[in-house]
Amino acid sequence: MRGIWALLGEELRLSAQRAVWTAAALSFFGMAGVAALKMLPELLPEGAVLPVEMTASEAVRGYVRTLYQIGSLVSVMLGMDVVSGEVEGGTLEPLLSAPVSVGSVFLAKLAARLAALAAGVAASAAVTWCYAVSVFGPTDLARTLAASAYALLPISSGALCAAGASALCRSQSSSALLGAAATLGLFAASRVGPRWLTPFGRAELAYEILDGGLGGLARPIVETSLALLILLAADLAALLAAERMERWWG
């Protein structure tokens, strides 16, 4: 067990940089969305009806939309090197010759990346909220953070898909492609299949939180979390299969 803590400690230390990059990327897109909303009246022909309200809450809503799109992509990028990064760098072999299991390596690295994603989302939500407030006037910070926190659950599936793919692929680029395809698949499945089937099935909940509808949240959150746990189980199954097939060794 001590191996997993050593790994987690090291990965968390390295994840500080990942969190900064995640926050920077998501803040950039969040603030760009606010700026675009501010410029919208100038871009529309004179006399045209504005399609959205020019308010801070609408700007924050745009940020949450960005989170689902760009955040999922960032999430894939964070998860793509969990195993394949070690395979490509040739460090998996010395790592596994130490008294740690490949499952420990996987879980420690994935946990550190999800922590980086969470920190990045929280920081970018706060930055975007500040900018939206400075441009359009006040809106509720607690709701913004709560909506972002909920959105974090579905977008985490990007990291989980990419991490699972990284166990099966020998290169990070292949892991990223397969992970992105799987994430898109989950998103598409949420539109056609049962809502509990994928972590994106309850995506609209983040907007409901922004609108103040805080009642009856428990069940959708549990459903989304369960969908994520199923995804994690699939990842571990892929990892065990890859270990059994000895896919990582030349």
Partner: protein, 338 residues
């Protein structure tokens, strides 16, 4: 210290190794010698519990490595074929990270890391990112990393592969120092015969299975190798050829482009001085003497299944005691099998 018995590993229909059996004594430097694809790396990976075998057993420092890999791993330091270190970490951080991974207590880790940095002459680069190290230095760091938990057994997979001659020599010297000064048992795989001859107390020639085991010189003797020696002469003559043929151990001699080419049987280290002394006494002006490694000849002979290996089988085989630890015996094809 290492007991490997009947290892088998198959990848689909391809058999990587079959019936690999050998033992390495405490404090010994043992070489696994084989051509590319002979199963050296597979054997190494099985011993350090990175991959499981299909059959066989591995005991390291008294621990069954297949039943209790976690405990066995504590006794093993492993250097993979590719000297991979974490390039995003500094030299010191690489060692500290692996010390934590092996559960070395904090109080012990720091002095141990400092000692390894000193031993491997990495002190000045301790705070440099590993990505900025040359390949030779990275190899040194990787060996230091393998020793960070002070294991009694060190597995080195082709430790000088891809290094320039100077770095390769440094690494060879380090391996010898680690074995002699630190008292480690070293199992190293290589296809470099010079390295095996220089570094190893005993070698096993492997090609899917163990073909021969013994001290490098003994293998050459057992393989009935005729070692070619080329003597460059300033005054070549047929008379000198006759002188060469009169020396005991010289089986043939001829002139070839101004050089005397002789084939030696037995230990070249004793025949070559006698040959050169006889030639000088007969008035030869010797410019140079070149000979190929006797282990190289033995290796080629054993791997190709060439000349008969004069091996003696184990126990009541009727050929007397074997020169190795008693794991090899003569096969019908004239090679030594484990």
């Amino acid at each position: 210290m290492i007991e490997v018995s009947g290892l088998v590993k198959r990848y689909g229909s391809v058999t990587a190794i079959e019936g690999v059996t050998f033992s390495v004594g405490s404090g010994e430097v043992f070489g696994l010698l084989g051509p590319n694809g002979a199963g050296k790396t597979t054997t190494m990976r099985i011993i350090c519990c990175v991959i499981p075998p299909d059959a066989g057993s591995v005991v390291v420092a008294g621990v069954d490595a297949l039943r209790d890999p976690s405990r066995a791993k504590q006794s093993i330091g492993y250097l993979p074929e590719v000297p991979s270190v974490y390039s995003r970490l500094t030299v010191r951080e690489n060692l500290e990270f692996f010390a934590r991974l092996y559960g070395v207590p904090g109080g012990e880790a720091e002095p141990r890391v400092s000692r390894l940095l000193r031993f491997f002459s990495l002190e000045e680069r301790a705070d440099q990112l590993a990505s900025r190290l040359s390949k030779g230095l990275r190899q040194r760091l990787a060996i230091a990393r393998a020793l960070v938990h002070d294991p009694p057994v060190l597995l080195l997979d082709e430790p000088t592969s891809g290094l320039d001659p100077i770095s390769a020599r440094e690494v060879r010297d380090l391996v010898v120092r680690v074995a002699r000064e630190e008292g480690k048992t070293v199992l190293l795989s290589t296809h470099n015969l010079f390295e095996a001859e220089q570094v190893c107390d005993r070698v096993a020639i492997i090609r899917r299975t163990i073909l021969a085991v013994g001290r490098p010189r003994e293998l050459a003797e057992r393989a009935s190798i005729r070692v070619p020696v080329r003597v460059a002469l300033a005054n070549p003559s047929e008379g000198l050829v006759r002188v060469a043929l009169s020396v005991q151990g010289v089986t043939s001699a001829k002139l070839e482009s101004g050089e005397l080419v002789a084939e030696l049987e037995g230990d070249p280290d004793s025949v070559v001085p006698e040959l050169s002394a006889a030639l000088v006494a007969a008035g030869a002006k010797i410019l140079s003497i070149r000979r190929t490694s006797s282990l190289e000849e033995a290796f080629i002979s054993v791997v190709r299944g060439g000349p008969r290996v004069r091996s003696r089988s184990v126990g009541g085989g009727g050929r007397g005691p074997d020169v190795n630890t008693g794991t090899a015996e003569m096969s019908g094809e004239g090679v030594v099998r484990a």
